[in-house]
């Protein structure tokens, strides 16, 4: 044990922060598992476990765009939507040919992630030429377009294969034994609830692995250099468009994976779920988490997803308290006076290796 401790303290600061993030996720998983098996969790909270995982992955994914690339995206829900629908479509369509739930879900993840990544790449090419507010507005519009297209999209399957149509279910021309999988504004009505909390945790760990390693690599350095000073980055020979696209595509892919997880947690869901509100909520997680901190984003996504559920007893005052909590967290995190006070108190505390200043302050 001592040897292990020594090895840990010998690592560099960034590596420690990264490892601590994996550890936090694993510890949270173990605690929740104990709580579930001990019966300490209400049914509604248990039902939130998988959505929390999906939101955490969304928060990690958007942190890559907002915090690391330094651009604002207001349409992130669209990638989640694409991931959810294409993933669920895949698992339902392969029900006959692949009997194992796990295999189908894995395939669903691959398809959902790839579809979202392709869309991210496609939309990124024209859109990433814009900066700041303009990019925010275009991504906002993009989110609405995806939502509205999904609202009128019908996909069905019969013995002849998969068919898609716009606007009208009858246009699918399905055979007698055919089955409608996605039916316009009604969305998916016969989804498969095969996502589990454990799968969600694995997805969080994989996402963390991807983004944290990316940030510490040559590619991540280039992305952050572009964020800090685009003109200097170009003068150093960095291909700005390429690295923006890489960040955007990876982020879209992770959002797609989060969507697949989310979609497999419900027997029914609609495109209207992934609207403007959802995108803003995810941005909220990122901002409250401190913009460029993956750990902060994970924590705020968890708290802000549980909070409305915990406040259910307050009835009418629920959203009022939610808003007040947001303001309080924001002040606690960002006000210079609060930061001073926090650091002063932290120094008075006895030193604990995990909580001491450099590891506790959230890693990039």
């Amino acid at each position: 044990m001592k040897k292990l401790c020594d090895r840990f303290t010998g690592l560099n600061k960034n590596t420690k922060r990264d490892l601590a993030n994996y550890l936090i996720v694993v510890v949270a998983f173990v605690i929740m598992q104990i709580a579930v098996s001990g019966g300490f969790l209400s049914n509604s909270l248990q039902g939130l476990l998988v959505p929390i995982c999906a939101y955490v992955v969304m928060a990690i994914s958007l942190t890559l765009i907002v915090g690391i690339l330094g651009e604002l995206s207001l349409g992130h829900g669209a990638f989640m939507s694409i991931g959810a629908f294409s993933g669920v479509l895949c698992t339902i369509a392969t029900e006959q040919s692949i009997p194992s739930d796990g295999m189908r879900l894995f395939l669903g993840f691959v398809v959902g992630t790839v579809m979202a990544a392709l869309l991210g790449l496609l939309i990124g090419i024209p859109v990433l030429r814009l900066k700041g507010d303009y990019l925010a507005i275009v991504t906002l519009a993009f989110g609405e377009i995806v939502k509205n297209v999904m609202n009128v999209l019908y996909v069905g399957m019969d013995a002849n294969g998969i068919r898609a149509a716009i606007d009208d279910e009858a246009k699918l021309n399905l055979a007698e034994d055919g089955q409608v999988i996605i039916s316009g504004a009604m969305g998916v009505a016969s989804g498969r609830k095969i996502a589990t909390f454990a799968i969600g945790i694995v997805l969080i760990l994989v996402s963390l692995f991807v983004v944290q390693n990316l940030v510490r690599s040559r590619t991540g350095r280039a992305i952050m250099a572009i964020r800090d000073n685009r003109i200097a980055a170009q003068a150093m020979g960095l291909n700005v468009t390429k690295y923006k696209l890489i960040a955007f595509t990876i982020s879209a892919a992770l959002a797609g994976a989060a969507g697949v997880l989310y979609g497999h947690n419900y027997s029914a869901f609609q495109a209207s779920k992934f609207d403007y509100n959802m995108s803003i909520q995810i941005l909220l997680f990122v901002v409250l988490g401190g913009m460029s901190s993956f750990r902060g984003a994970m924590i705020s996504a968890t708290i802000l997803t549980i909070l409305p559920e915990m406040l259910r007893g307050m009835k009418d005052y629920r959203m009022l308290i939610y808003a007040v909590v947001l303001i309080v967290i924001m002040i606690f995190n960002q006000s210079p006076k609060m930061i001073q006070w926090r650091e002063a108190t932290l120094q008075k505390l006895p030193k604990i290796p995990f909580l001491s200043k450099d590891t506790a302050k959230g890693g990039k």
């Binding site: 040559r218 000073n229 170009q234």
Partner: protein, 253 residues
């Protein structure tokens, strides 16, 4: 053949002719100065040489290759690196990472290698760390390697910019007012460093500077700009005694 040959270079912003008919020749391993009163067009020349502005006329030939109007990224790869008048560091990155960002096209590996941490990731990161530390040592910045670049004092930020530019392995280094805001002692030290860089890396350096002791002290050849035109060029003494230069600086008939 000269390393850099600029012929008849000019740029107009709308009706304003900022620079016109600029001719310049830069030989390998020499130090050149570009001076002139405020607003003479010095930084505009730098911006054209590095692709920030596209010249409206003329040619820029680097090592026999025409780089006129190419993007900053391509020009950097072709071998021109620069610093900025108003410092442009990667503020939130560490000092070391700033230089490693400069090494981007020198030591390469892909995004997938980085994410999966394949063996070459560790090998190349180590090579980058070593090269970057070597450069930082030249500028006495090795103690600050792991601090954020924005936390450095002003003089050290200027040095870090030069270190980062050198990391791109340039043939020609452009320094835009490297001694601005430095005290006489720091300026003296910087002169030594610039000389050392020229000898050590065997590159050509072109610098803009208002500190005449600095320019006269180290530049072998000086070009004077006024209102976007070359009014004089030659050695320090030739330029200093040129009546046109005196008139431009002090005002005259």
């Amino acid at each position: 053949m000269a390393l850099l040959e600029v012929t008849n270079l000019g740029i107009a912003f709308g009706g304003l002719q900022a620079v016109s008919q600029l001719d310049m020749k830069i030989e390998k391993g020499h130090l050149y100065g570009l001076i002139g009163p405020n607003g003479a067009g010095k930084t505009t020349v730098f911006n054209m040489l590095t692709g920030v502005y596209k010249p409206t006329e003329g040619d820029i030939i680097l090592d026999g290759k025409n780089i006129t109007g190419k993007s900053p990224e391509k020009i950097c790869k072709a071998g021109i690196a620069r610093t900025f008048q108003n410092i442009r560091l990667f503020d939130k990155l560490t000092v070391l990472d700033n230089v490693k960002a400069g090494l981007h096209n020198q030591i390469e590996y892909g995004a997938i290698t980085g994410v999966l941490r394949l063996p070459s990731y560790f090998r190349k990161e180590k090579a980058m760390d070593e090269r970057a530390m070597e450069l930082l040592k030249i500028f006495h910045l090795e103690q600050e390697a792991h601090l954020p670049a924005s936390s450095l004092p002003y003089g050290k930020q200027r040095k870090l910019e030069i270190a980062r530019a050198l990391a791109t392995n340039p043939k020609l280094l452009l320094l835009d007012e490297p001694a601005a805001g430095m005290n006489p002692h720091e300026t003296e030290e910087l002169m030594e460093t610039v000389r050392f860089v020229k000898e050590h890396f065997k590159i050509a350096i072109l610098l803009i500077e208002h500190d005449m002791n600095f320019v006269m002290g180290i530049c072998e050849h000086i070009t004077v700009l006024d209102y976007g035109r070359v009014i004089a060029s030659g050695t320090g003494d030739q330029v200093r005694n040129n009546p046109k230069v005196i008139a431009a600086y002090l005002g005259g008939d």
